[in-house]
C-alpha cells in the first residue's frame, strides 16, 4: 500500500524552497537516485512557481501538494484554487529562440515520466506528475 503525504502551502515565493526540501527528502526515502531526486525537485518547484506567479490577482491563499509514495513510483499533484487558465492556449516554447519565460511546463514534461494538467477557468489548476524509480 502506498503512503500519502499532503502539504498545504501559502501561495508565496518564500515557501517554494520548503516544498522542494520536503519533496527531496521523500524522494530520497522512496529510493530515487540523485539525478531523479533533482528532476523531481525542479518539476515540483516549477509547478509551485506557476501557482504563485500566475494565480489570479490577489491570490495568496494556499495550494496543495499531494504525494503518493508507491512501489517504485512517486506521484505528486499540485492543486490550486488560483483561477485556472486555458490549457488550449498553451504553446511549447521554441527552444531554438530563447526567450524569458514560458519554460516551466516544458521543463516539467521533460523531467517527469507522466504529466497530466487539468485547469478549470474561474476555479483552479491541478498538475499531476509521476516519476518511476529505476
Amino acid at each position: 500500500m502506498s503512503d500519502i503525504l499532503k502539504l498545504s502551502v501559502p501561495g508565496k515565493p518564500e515557501y517554494v524552497g520548503m516544498v522542494r526540501l520536503a519533496i527531496s527528502s521523500l524522494a530520497n526515502h522512496a529510493g530515487f537516485d540523485i539525478e531523479a531526486i533533482e528532476d523531481i525537485k525542479v518539476a515540483v518547484s516549477e509547478a509551485c512557481t506557476n501557482v504563485v506567479c500566475h494565480g489570479q490577482v490577489g491570490f495568496c491563499s494556499s495550494y496543495e501538494v499531494d504525494c503518493e509514495i508507491g512501489n517504485n513510483k512517486l506521484i505528486i499533484s499540485i492543486i490550486d484554487q488560483a483561477g485556472g487558465y486555458d490549457i488550449n492556449n498553451y504553446k511549447e516554447p521554441n527552444i531554438d529562440c530563447p526567450k524569458q519565460g514560458g519554460l516551466g511546463v516544458f521543463i516539467i514534461k521533460a523531467l517527469m515520466d507522466e504529466v497530466i494538467i487539468c485547469s478549470d477557468i474561474g476555479t483552479g489548476t491541478s498538475i499531476k506528475m509521476v516519476k518511476y524509480c529505476k
Partner: protein, 103 residues
C-alpha cells in the same frame, strides 16, 4: 535555501566575475537580477557567472539569465556560465540554453 553572490570586476580582462552560491528559485531570482543589473550599470562589460557552488536553478533563474543575455547582446556583450553542476547542466541542455549561455 538562499543565494549568495560575490561580484568582482576584473580590470585586466575587462569583465565581471559573479560567483553564485546556493539556490536560485522564485524567491532568490530577483537578487540575481538586481546584481547583474547593478554590475552592468557600473561597467558595461562581459559577465561570467561562476556556478561551481550553485546547487539549484529552475526556470525563474534561467529566465533572468536569458533576459540579461538578450539585453547584453544588443550591446555586443556576452554573459556566460562556468562550471555548472550536473543537475544544472541537464536543465541547460533540455532547454537548449547551453548553446547560447555556455559557448
Amino acid at each position: 535555501m538562499s543565494l549568495q553572490i560575490q561580484s568582482n570586476y576584473n580590470q585586466e580582462l575587462n569583465k565581471w566575475d559573479l560567483k553564485l552560491e546556493g539556490e536560485i528559485d522564485l524567491f532568490t531570482a530577483s537578487k540575481l537580477k538586481a546584481k547583474i543589473e547593478e554590475a552592468y550599470e557600473i561597467n558595461q562589460s562581459n559577465i561570467e557567472l561562476d556556478l561551481t557552488d550553485l546547487n539549484y536553478i529552475d526556470s525563474t533563474g534561467l529566465g533572468v539569465m536569458i533576459g540579461a543575455y538578450g539585453k547584453m547582446k544588443e550591446n555586443n556583450k556576452s554573459i556566460i556560465l562556468l562550471n555548472p553542476k550536473d543537475n544544472i547542466k541537464k536543465l541547460l541542455s533540455i532547454t537548449n540554453l547551453d548553446k547560447v549561455l555556455c559557448p
